[in-house]
Symmetry: none
Subunit: 254 residues, 2 copies
């Protein structure tokens, strides 16, 4: 079965990485990606905690940046304890994992981002996401352990899978007849294509001094990116937009 | 709010008891009962792991038998990895926690039983239950950690609680489980604002001869519009995008 990548951003405790791997194994999720873990990698504490899920730890990939870790991903969810004013859709975990299955059925490569234990995801990480997922918690004890957040995500992903998809170790997932009928849904472009578009776009806006007040650029640019990410451009659309930006800004050099 | 009792039967690892307490606290569950814990009680390892949920550990009650631990309970669920041939209803966790809320609304006192780490519940424990709850797991890695099973139960209980039941001391605003949480961002701009943006955009693309082959314009333009419509721009975002297009194409008139 196609399964999402679990991306831990700057995780602090090796034990939590190991416990996350075990939770992934419980629910048939295997691809673990680590962005700049605090204590380096490999980490014996992660291996010790992983138990029989050691293969997930051994196969985990190490990345320097969030962008690098999700370069091949087309649909990305960012887990946060609280809603963010990021102009992104906010889903609960149950709804989010069902959306993930739809994206996967359409051929998309999905990833779920988890932030560091103490602080959660930074805005610069959330900016890569198509949507924010919240796990509702009791307000008097709102700090959810990292591995437990991974448990809940993987559990909801697993129970939300379409029936009949877990036969055989790598059984190919077929969308239930009817649900996908009539939907001609091309998956969103991989993130690295989107990043290419954003890079070009940002340079074009810089070149025309779009921001005027430099201090405003960060928030404005984040909102522009969020709006375009929300649109879930296909690879074809990314190419079209690169052409648009090039055409609109080409006059400068004339 | 009325909440279920979590009953750990012959738990082995103090760390798991502490992690269970933390998971309970995350989801507003407070009553922990222990039946014959292997390493006695109190257990410093449980306290160490509990973090800020220490009060749950301190208030936990110790019982010699399962029957004693659930003496005041009217509706009892037994968690098992596999179905048991016990002639009991078998529910998944999602359905089970919703049943629990019904029982609680009718004045029932509810409990959820969890067995020892290695073996799970014995039949002599399950016999006390009104129903069996299974947590589906991947067949190739079916042993779910005790604390993680408690996480999933408490999470499903919390997201399944009826709306309006958590207003008061434990106030929190939450969207209904299973539905898309209300999107926090402002509603999309009215269509006429979007049309204004499209009109400006189309003129800008015409001005730079973006289409090249005129026959292709109709389909290309339709796709560009569709992608932007999908993004559900707010009124503020429409204004931003009008500014972007103006800035990018301003060089022409210079």
């Amino acid at each position: 079965m196609i399964h999402p990548s679990i991306i831990l951003i700057r995780p602090q405790m090796g034990e939590n990485i190991g416990a996350a791997a075990r939770a992934m194994a419980n629910f048939g999720v295997r691809d673990l990606r680590l962005v700049a873990p605090r204590d380096g990698w490999p980490n014996p504490k992660a291996s010790d905690m992983a138990g029989r899920a050691l293969n997930i730890i051994d196969d985990a990939t190490l990345h320097a940046t969030t962008a690098e870790a999700l370069a091949d991903c087309s649909y990305v969810l960012a887990t946060t304890a609280r809603d963010r004013a990021m102009n992104l859709p906010v889903l609960d975990m149950h709804a989010a994992m069902r959306e993930l299955h739809k994206q996967q059925a359409a051929g998309g490569k999905c990833a779920i981002l988890f932030g560091p234990e103490r602080t959660g995801l930074e805005n610069e990480d959330v900016i890569h996401a198509n949507a924010v997922v919240t796990i509702p918690v009791a307000p008097e004890y709102a700090s959810l352990n990292l591995a437990q957040a991974v448990v809940i995500a993987c559990y909801e992903w697993w129970v939300g899978r379409p029936l009949g998809t877990d036969i055989g170790p790598e059984h190919v997932m077929l969308a239930p007849a009817g649900e996908m009928a009539g939907q001609e849904h091309t998956p969103p472009a991989p993130r690295e294509q989107l990043e290419g578009l954003f890079g070009q776009f940002e340079m074009a806006l810089d070149a025309v001094n779009f921001w005027r007040v430099p201090a405003k650029k960060e928030v404005m640019w984040r909102n522009i990116r969020a709006a375009l990410t929300r649109a879930e451009f296909t690879a074809q659309e990314v190419a079209t937009w690169r052409g648009i930006i090039k055409a609109l800004s080409s006059n400068k050099s004339q």
